[in-house]
Point group: C2
Chain length 124, copies 2
């Protein structure tokens, strides 16, 4: 299971968009990533092509163009990236990691409540 993949920084940008809006065409990916990333259309197409090659994306041809969609599950990629980050930066210790993010971010009351609930579920 979890036929997952290592994604680079730029590849995450593309995959996040595809996961959110799939199926999606190259043109729309280009449009959506043009300003935030300042990528030329050619660059975006290269990313799509590479992601297909590494089997993170699949596509269905329709006439001239492709409908792209994800071939790996977001949850699996998140899990993998999270694990790697945890090991690399926090030596595998989740508690200090959590402490860091709790300290450096701000949360709404709802979010805080929800996090407490999750902690409670851990207890048992």
């Amino acid at each position: 299971m979890s036929d997952t993949v290592e994604l680079s920084d730029a590849e995450w940008q593309v995959m996040n968009l595809v996961w959110d809006r799939q199926p999606i065409m190259a043109q729309d990916v280009i449009g959506a990533l043009a300003e935030p990333c300042c990528w030329s259309p050619a660059t975006v197409r290269t990313m799509l092509h590479r992601l297909v090659k590494k089997e993170a994306l699949q596509f269905t041809p329709e006439g001239n163009r492709y409908w792209y969609r994800a071939a790996v599950r977001r949850a699996d990629c998140v899990r993998r990236a999270a694990r790697s980050f945890l090991d690399r930066v926090f030596d595998g210790e989740a508690a200090p990691l959590l402490a860091h993010f709790v300290r450096t971010a701000r949360f709404s009351s709802e979010e805080l409540a929800q996090l407490r609930t999750l902690l409670d579920q851990q207890e048992r």
Copy 2:
């Protein structure tokens, strides 16, 4: 301030060791990373050299060898890596990130208590 640096995976291994045990000599880094990372001594020396070049490490010569120590603060590198990971994988949303790690890790009662305290401090 925060004259920080992007560290690669392998570089984090070295830096983590240096932060923990500085000042430290190449020989000891080699010894400490030999089994966990399966790196040859030459590889470790290359890493040290590159880290000096990118100004993440500094050194004081003593006779034949160097005493290495960090030239960037761990907290700064952690902050930078954490920010980058948060943006990349969780689109900048800390709450889902925390939820993920709370769900996928196990914590002792002390850790849970401490996390609750941190959440309480957020509230105010």
